[in-house]
Amino acid sequence: MVKVTVCIGSSCHLKGSRQVVEELQYLIKENNVGDDVNLSGAFCMGRCQENGVNVTVDGQHFSITPDEVKDFFKKEVLSKIK
């Protein structure tokens, strides 16, 4: 099980948290990995100065923009399953 957490605080919301969440929900469904990925939200990770939306994968920190979600999902999430 891979734990993916997306920050939905004010700053990240303005940088596109909503698109990131929706894109991730879509990709999880499309790849049929709902049982392997635990997607959750967090209020403010204390890294508002980053350029993108703050996301953690099993505790490891990333900053991604809505355009980067697809690549990010393939590289950092799908690769960690099994």
């Binding site: 939905i8 605080g9 004010s10 700053s11 929706e22 939200g41 967090a42 209020f43 403010c44 508002c48």
Partner: protein, 386 residues
């Protein structure tokens, strides 16, 4: 036990008129709340001047405990006489009530007020008085928790006359309608707006008379504490959170950092719901022991819009809040449920927010406007800056 007097009103303007000839005035003085609904002769500017003078004079004098005889003498002496009709005339209903539910009601030429007790519409016992040549009716008020009084200008009982209804909307039918929409959770404003909306429907959106509904409701007090933003002195976080939690019936935390501080103090996790119920309002969170956890500035901005709409005297949308996004849930807690609201506003600056539309000045402005609007709703509001 102390009760809270909730009030609200909604007006329809005579079709084609910019000004309403009905006017509601409201004042709080010590333990007493005074509400006056006046309907000036005619419509438009003239009616507006008459009802404005009448409501303002009566409300100011009654709330300062001047006898009704003296109030009426002043009113009769002050109203300008209409050139065409040779009359100076405005109807009125005066409600003067304390926080135990005791007080009185005076009526002159407005439709008789409707008293709602336990969901049933009743008539108050009225005593006829002759003051300054006017027949004024007096009723003693002894209201209980969850009682309403609904007053209206004659535009309500004339609704639909000659169009959808032969004789207008009779008072008995208005009573039946109020019983049908009754729900003890409805605020006075919601009750008034819903009745006004139905009058507007009967008028087919073109009111033939100025129509105003004003309602008061007496209910239990509810003290809501709301924390917005982290305090400047970081090392005293625990002190501020303890003070925020102390003595509240319901607690709300707005903002990511604030939630983190509160969750740490309570030693509970924050759960975040990822469902976006409204596109422009971020999702809410959950902390055990806190009634509502939301994002900060963006949610508050939407809440301010909702408060403007709630206060509008011409907006006919239902004044109930059922959606589950953060801003709507805040509106239900603050506009409908709360009687007292205490803000705990932290002024710590998040450097990453500066320059964005979510910075500290924006937050402070929003809180100030919200506090003002809550006061206009009749709430007791305190704002603490930390």
């Amino acid at each position: 036990m102390s009760l809270f007097v909730d009030f609200g009103y909604t007006s329809l303007n005579h079709f084609g008129e910019e000004l309403c000839g009905d006017k509601v005035e409201y004042a709080k003085n010590g333990d007493y709340v005074t509400l006056v609904l006046a309907d000036g002769l005619g419509s438009g500017v003239k009616a507006n001047i008459l009802s404005t003078l009448t409501s303002k004079i009566l409300c100011t004098m009654v709330s300062n405990n001047v006898s009704i005889n003296e109030c009426l003498e002043t009113m009769v002496a002050s109203l300008p006489v209409c050139k065409e009709r040779g009359l100076a005339y405005s109807t009125f209903t005066v409600i003067h009530l304390n926080h135990s539910g005791d007080g009185f009601l005076f009526e002159f030429d407005n439709p008789q007020a409707i008293y709602i007790h336990d969901g049933k519409c009743l008539d108050l016992n009225r005593k006829k008085l002759l003051i300054s040549g006017k027949e004024v009716y007096q009723s003693e008020l002894k209201l209980k928790d969850n009682d309403y009084i609904v007053t209206m200008s004659d535009g309500a009982i004339h609704a639909g006359i000659g169009a959808t209804l032969n004789f207008g909307w009779e008072r008995e039918d208005i009573k039946k309608y109020l019983e049908s929409i009754y729900d003890s959770k409805l605020s006075a404003k919601a009750m008034a707006t819903q009745l006004a909306k139905s009058c507007n429907d009967l008028y087919l959106d073109k009111p033939g008379d100025d129509t105003t509904i004003a309602a008061i409701k007496i209910r239990k007090s509810l003290n809501v504490h709301i924390m917005v933003g982290p305090p400047v002195e970081k090392e005293k976080d625990d002190y501020y959170v303890a003070r925020f939690l102390d003595g509240a019936d319901k607690t709300i935390v707005c903002g990511g950092t604030s939630s983190t501080i509160v969750a740490r103090y309570l030693k509970k996790p924050i759960e975040v719901d990822l469902n976006y119920l409204e596109a422009d309002v971020p999702p809410t969170g959950k902390i055990e022991g806190i009634d509502l956890v939301t994002e900060g500035v963006l949610t508050l901005r939407r809440l301010l819009e909702l408060s403007e709409q709630y206060l509008s005297i011409v907006d006919l949308s239902p004044k109930i809040f059922v959606r589950q996004d953060g801003a709507t849930r805040l509106a239900d807690l603050l506009f409908v449920q709360a009687s007292d609201v205490v803000f705990f506003v932290g002024q710590s600056i998040n450097a990453a927010h500066q320059g964005l539309p979510i910075d500290i000045t924006m937050k402070l402005k929003l809180v100030e406007s919200l506090a003002n609007n809550l006061k206009k709703m009749g709430k007791n509001v305190i704002v603490n800056y930390d």
